[in-house]
């Protein structure tokens, strides 16, 4: 691809993020989600504000200083990749990840309230399994959800005012704990879920990042806890690497097409 201009990609990613985040975001939330340094983010947001595409709230209320997308720029936020095109792109990568890890694989896309599973590959052991395509996963209690909160939705504030449903005794229940977990996810480029949705089960997910670093989907491997995590609760390095590599490869394809 001959020279895409990175600052425009980033600006579009900021607009898409603000549009899909559903609530105004602070500068650091934008920077963290897109993996940008604050000064760069500030430059982009200020330019967009001067151009009338982004607005900053000045009401001395709780959202004072937050940014949201201007009505005029709403169109920009739409039109990410079609989930079924994503699945079509992901088929071979997902098959290969499942074969390599001997675990099942899912691909999830963010919705306004949760994660939609758009693709599912069985674990290749002949065991009886049911397709999860079309099912929903909670944002705070699945690896797919955490990866998307961290890299697509502007973080935990998307869930503000909602109660975090406890699925098991290990489910994250407070917004504070979730904020900390998402910081780890951003740092590691990897989200985990260790018996937080279903006893004895877990998953490891990585974001599929489109232009400007905004995640358009997440890819996850699923299995029993002891297949995924060591005794200290850390994901096995080979599984984590394989998941990240698959998500990165898919991200490259996404950026080639969008």
């Amino acid at each position: 691809m001959p020279g895409r201009i990175q600052s425009i990609e980033r600006a579009v990613a900021v607009l898409r993020l603000l549009d899909t985040a559903d609530q105004p975001l602070e500068l650091h939330e934008i920077a963290d989600t897109l993996g940008l340094v604050r000064t760069t983010t500030h430059g982009i947001v200020s330019t967009l504000r001067e151009l009338g595409l982004v607005e900053q709230i000045h009401d001395h209320g709780p959202l004072h200083g937050h940014y949201h997308v201007a009505e005029a720029a709403r169109l920009f936020g739409r039109g990410g990749p079609d989930p079924h095109e994503l699945r079509s792109l992901a088929m071979n990568w997902a098959d290969s990840l499942a074969a390599q890890t001997a675990l099942s694989v899912t691909l999830g896309v963010p919705t306004r309230v949760d994660v939609l599973v758009v693709h599912h590959v069985f674990r290749p052991d002949g065991s009886s399994q049911r397709l999860a395509v079309g099912q929903r996963r909670p944002l705070h209690a699945s690896a797919l959800g955490k990866a998307l909160l961290a890299f697509a939705s502007g973080g935990v504030r998307r869930l503000q005012g909602t109660e975090l449903t406890a699925y098991t005794s290990r489910t994250i229940r407070t917004h504070q704990a979730l904020t900390e977990a998402l910081a780890d996810v951003r740092h590691a480029g990897l989200a985990t879920e260790d018996a937080e949705l279903e006893a004895d089960r877990g998953s490891i997910a990585a974001p599929v990042q489109g232009p400007g670093g905004l995640a358009v989907a997440a890819v996850a491997i699923h299995g029993f806890r002891d297949e995924l995590f060591d005794r200290r609760g850390q994901p096995y390095a080979d599984l984590a690497d394989a998941t990240k590599r698959t998500a990165k490869a898919l991200g490259r394809e996404v950026r080639r097409l969008w």
Partner: protein, 504 residues
């Protein structure tokens, strides 16, 4: 250190030639691909340059090895799967094709095939080959070449000009070409020439006489999994152990080794093949009895084939001609924007209806239009057309395959298996589970399996079966009353396509 051993498959297809490498567990480790030019010299004529395809083979095999970081001595064997019925003749001394290859899509032999019927040859052909004369097959194309290419007939009679389908041409080139290349074909490709006795698996003198083909130009017919010879170029020393027509290769790659097991490959069209064991089925419904595969000295395994002309190409039409979507996968998004077909049905009889209906004068219809119908309903109707056409072939197959052989599950492969809504709909209307394996490259895998089996890389069919893993399963979930009502609607829609083209 143990040297890594893999098997190479050459997939010589309609638009491209690919080389794929598979390891012992049947996983693909590399792929390389080159497209070749399509020549359309006149309406209805479609040709390929066999020399260009050979040059592509010379490139893709080393390229796949490079991608995997392997060398020719890592190859245990090489197998070939090919577009069926594409016909080439060449000079055995120079190695040059006398003309461009006539492809399977080419319809120039229509009149000759009609003539065979009017000459009263249909019954003989059906008795010997198992199928009525149609334009699909290679024999009439070979006859056309002999009649129209200067020097072809004399050369063939003197033994200077050879005939082959694509696997013959490639094996001959790989094993030395003009310098003692092996001139062979496999039973599955030979079964699509209209020249082979499908029981004896030999060229049939009566058919050669009927089509006026000199026997000297024909390749020797060999099993699908057997060593044809060793490569003397490209990857010297590597044994060529397998060759099959593409759809037979997919049957083999999907490990449909037991009678009653079936696969369907969903591409622009769809091909459903069912293993019928040692029994050559006859099909009153007009499905095609064919050789499934032959392993070395073992008796032949037969199959019944039903093809659907328009499946993925209907989605392409929806995208390119109606412009209601930008990319093929978007049809699923559009289709899921509504709950059902809204009473709308599309029957894509673009060039008539074939097995099991046989109405060449039919043309496509969109029926049930009301002001309620949106493009979402049309998208559903497009996908459902593939489901119902599959159902028609399955119904015919369950009747014709013979006692005790009914479809109990369907293994699928091909690009359309990425469409979840469609796969669920197919399971719903054929009322058996539909399953997708991990390796979607069933055609190439089948060629690799045959080749690996021939050299002992894989011990037996049971090992190959063990390599088959389910990646997805769609269970039928449609209410039977609803299914029957929809089926009745589909049938009524199909009836509205009949006799549209008036005799001129």
């Amino acid at each position: 250190m143990v040297k890594e051993r893999v098997v190479a498959a050459i997939d010589q297809g309609t638009t491209s030639t690919r080389c794929l490498l598979f390891n012992h567990s049947g996983r693909m480790v590399a792929v390389s691909q080159r497209e070749h030019r399509q020549h359309y010299p006149r309406p209805g004529w479609v040709e390929h340059d066999a020399a260009e395809i050979w040059r592509n083979v010379e490139r893709v095999v080393p390229a796949a090895l490079r991608e995997a970081g392997l060398r020719p001595d890592n190859l245990a064997a090489l197998g070939i799967a090919n577009q069926r019925e594409t016909t080439v003749i060449w000079n055995r001394h120079t190695g040059k094709p006398l003309a461009r290859a006539i492809t399977w899509q080419d319809t120039r032999t229509e009149r000759f095939v009609e003539e065979l019927a009017t000459r009263g040859k249909s019954e003989l052909i059906r008795d010997v080959c198992g199928m009525a004369p149609t334009t699909y097959f290679a024999g009439p194309r070979l006859r056309w070449l002999l009649d129209h290419i200067p020097g072809a007939r004399e050369g063939a009679e003197q033994g200077d000009v050879l005939f082959g389908t694509m696997e013959s041409w490639l094996i001959w080139r790989l094993t030395g070409g003009p310098d003692r290349g092996s001139h062979v074909t496999d039973v599955t490709n030979a079964s699509r020439t209209m020249l082979m006795d499908i029981r004896a698996l030999r060229w049939d003198e009566r058919l050669l006489e009927t089509l006026d083909i000199p026997e000297a130009m024909l390749p020797e017919i060999r099993p699908n999994a057997t060593v044809y010879g060793s490569c003397r170029t490209v990857v010297p020393g590597v044994p060529i152990g397998g060759a099959l027509g593409d759809q037979h290769a997919a049957l083999f790659g999907q490990t449909c080794f037991a009678p009653g097991e079936a696969k369907c490959t969903y591409g622009t069209g769809a091909f459903l093949l069912m293993n019928t064991g040692d029994r050559l089925a006859t099909s009153p419904h007009g499905l095609i009895p064919t050789v499934g595969y032959v392993i070395d000295e073992e008796p032949p395994v037969y199959a019944l084939e039903g093809s659907i002309a328009v499946t993925g190409s209907l989605v392409q039409w929806f995208r390119d001609s109606l412009e209601l979507i930008h990319t093929a996968p978007q049809i699923e998004s559009l289709a899921t924007s509504v709950a059902d077909n809204g009473g709308c049905y599309i029957v894509p009889a673009f060039s008539g209806l074939y097995a099991p209906r046989w109405h060449p004068d039919a043309r496509g219809v969109v029926v049930g239009l009301t002001s309620y119908v949106t493009k979402g309903h049309l998208a559903r109707a497009v996908l459902e057309a593939t489901g119902w056409q599959t159902r028609e072939v399955v119904d015919a197959m369950n009747v014709d395959a013979g006692p005790g052989l009914t479809l109990t599950r369907l293994k699928v492969d091909g690009g359309m298996t990425a469409n979840h809504l469609l796969m669920q709909f197919i399971a719903d209307v054929i009322d058996v589970p539909v399953e997708r394996p991990f390796v979607m490259e069933a055609v190439s895998l089948g060629a690799a399996y045959a080749a690996g089996l021939a050299v002992g890389y894989w011990a037996d069919l049971a090992v190959l079966r063990g390599n088959w893993h389910r990646a997805a399963l769609w269970e039928p979930a449609m209410d039977p009353t609803h299914r029957d009502a929809e089926h009745a609607n589909w049938n009524r829609a199909v009836e509205r396509t009949y006799d549209w083209v008036r005799p001129s």
